[in-house]
Symmetry: C2
Subunit: 416 residues, 2 copies
């Protein structure tokens, strides 16, 4: 297949490159995606992916609802929808967020998008001028960097610890940026069970962040795909809960609480922002897929969502525990990792001097894969970290994968 | 609802506008969409929409396939997919295009997108530098103008007649642009049963367009959502059929041959172009909805698509006939219209001096709505035209709608 494609590529007499826009010429395929393609075809234990386990998909519920929707609502479910999304679903989500997070419905409007990835792109489109400062966590969700990058912001990266983004450092940076006359448009945070670290921003820091947003007049983009996947500890309200001015744009998704195949996410934000994002979305794809939206509506409205979340939690908790135990058992001294209360990822930090990207080949040779941490940093300036996923692979494989990884690291440490 | 929203908008203490990007500040809601919202709540006969009739949706087939897919392929259908799309569907579409249009599979790669609207946006992103010339039909599909506009091209609009884009005028324009040292990136055409005119580019002109593309070194974006909806006359091969170099990017969609609610379209193009568009799509939404893709795969592969197309045709043909007959019967002298062999639209031209946008209010007062033609022209410089849709409204209503419209026009002519 690859070979055939290469032949096709070579056969052209056209100068293909000459047609691309300047920005398109800068676009590069994600190296990690390319790397993972290789891994997925071998018998390597991959702790690299970011996929939910298909065992957590509520297939029977979806089947039942799909049958119902196609019997009773086919006209609507198969037709074009409005750009903002299917109104009953938007209302159901607003009610659900009010109940679950105490975010008053009267303060937000909900708009449906094609997965929260699309929300990131639309937010880039609507808010970022070239040169505007976008503040991100260091490390942060790499596809957010990828989405924002097109709009040419200046990224400023704030270090993380076990309580999330370091507010003291953020404050210093904000002061510095202010003195330099730079405009900060927003802070982007995966506030709970962060991707890639698994850590959660503390209650105190959430409040602090809102205060800083007011003081320095910026917005907060709160990306919250994981907070329902809590295996231990006490829930913390979303930052949006503390927002009394409309500074927080909240992103939710069905990918982890229903299934990613629906490509459905939502933005909950002030109507003034939603109105503009709606206009932007109209130009890029008219509306999110309607069939998926009508199914998702029944899923939320019928109480299936609330019923199903505990089952996902029960399925993932042993996997998280297995990974934490294996790390404890196998990892040599000098290796550190986060202990997430939820989500999908654990973040591992090796002694300085070890480059996890260079180490990858050796790990794969030993039969295990991970994501080198470098790509999660806006400036790619940290080399000794990696992200491990514990949701996709069963417990025994997690143990064996971590064992192989520890072995690789030990050899690497010896060499260093 | 509207009132409540206005209150919400007014209540903010934030300076919302100050956060928007320069480009977002330029974004305007489509006036037509706003207009149609009003119409849809009244008992006006709307010939304005662009919706397929829900009676043409193959609901029973979709139900059967959905059941099957969720029983046999749930793991895949509910999981994240690759950015290029579900491979069996991509292959099935490539085979289908080879069989149906004689476009050799070996020459194209098929990539799935979130409706062909997304293809337009991605093509803008990948090909247009600010100031690049994009040549469009005058009139053209207005959402294409909307998608491309973000990327700041210079639009050049080529007049149309009953055989599509005027190649003689195109050639003159190309020569002129060449002398002015301007770069033409691509010609955008809805080649068959055009939106909004309903006309089809003749065979001869298709070949001529390819020759001009070679001579002046530009690409062709062929948007082909309607060609399967042929009610009379002989099929013409897509322009892509004549493309031996990879200059044509072909856009297909399931919206008119399955249902719009899936939000599924495809691009068939040279692998070199597909590779770049794939990278662009990765940043904007990762992948198209997988459940829809797996259902669409069974729909094509199982032969349902080929079985279903004749049924859609039989459903729409009487509606087109009814509109043509009513126009013949009711319209006063001086009014002209196209006689499409297929598609969804008829284009009406009134005597010069009548502004259909200004006339709209009177038409609505008489109980009929249409889309004023102005917005379909890149430079909004033609005022005396309108688009009528004949797929959504039943025959009797079409007759009555055209009668009311003719009455409005007669009064307007008397006044003029």
């Amino acid at each position: 297949m690859q070979e055939k494609l290469e032949r096709k590529l070579a056969s052209g007499s056209l100068n293909f490159e000459s047609f691309f826009s300047e920005k398109a010429l800068q676009m590069k395929a994600s190296e990690i995606r390319e790397l993972l393609k290789l891994v997925e075809t071998s018998d390597v234990i991959s702790l690299a992916g970011g996929l939910p386990a298909p065992e957590t998909f509520p297939v029977d519920i979806i089947k039942k609802i799909a049958e119902e929707v196609l019997t009773e609502h086919a006209d609507k479910a198969l037709q074009y929808g409005t750009t903002k999304g299917f109104t009953p679903l938007r209302l159901a989500l607003a009610r659900w967020m009010e109940k679950r997070y105490d975010i008053p419905m009267s303060k937000v409007e909900v708009m449906m998008v094609a997965g929260s990835q699309q929300a990131l792109d639309l937010i880039g489109r609507v808010f970022i001028n070239p040169g505007d400062v976008v503040i991100v966590e260091g490390p942060t969700y790499l596809a957010a960097l990828n989405a924002f990058k097109y709009y040419e912001p200046e990224f400023v990266s704030i270090p993380m610890d076990h309580d999330g983004m370091r507010m003291d450092i953020l404050e210093e940076k904000l002061e510095e940026l202010k003195r330099a006359g730079k405009r900060v448009k927003f802070v982007y945070t995966v506030s709970t069970f962060q991707n890639p670290m698994g850590v959660t921003m503390s209650l105190e820091r959430r409040k602090h962040l809102i205060e800083l947003a007011k003081e320095y007049d910026f917005l907060i983009v709160e990306d919250n795909p994981y907070s329902e996947l809590r295996y231990s500890g006490k829930p913390v309200p979303p930052i949006k809960h503390f927002d009394d001015e409309g500074r927080v744009l909240y992103l939710g998704t069905f990918s982890k609480i229903l299934a990613p195949g629906f490509r459905l996410g939502w933005i909950a934000a002030h109507p003034h922002f939603i109105r503009k994002i709606e206009i932007a979305k109209q130009a890029v794809d008219l509306c999110a897929n309607t069939l998926g939206q009508v199914i998702a509506w029944k899923y939320v409205e019928g109480g299936y969502l609330d019923e199903h979340i505990p089952k996902i939690i029960e399925f993932y908790r042993p996997r998280r525990d297995a990974m934490l135990e294996a790390l404890e058992e196998y990892m040599p001294e000098g290796v550190e990792w986060t202990k997430p209360d939820g989500g999908m990822f654990i973040w591992v930090t090796l002694p300085e001097g070890i480059d996890t990207k260079l180490m990858m080949e050796k790990a794969v040779a030993k039969g295990v894969a991970y994501v080198p941490g470098e790509a999660f940093f806006a400036h790619r300036d940290v080399k000794n970290t990696m992200r491990l996923n514990f949701t996709y692979v069963p417990e025994e494989k997690i143990r064996e994968g971590v064992r192989r990884l520890a072995e690789t690291i030990k050899e690497e440490l010896k060499r260093a």
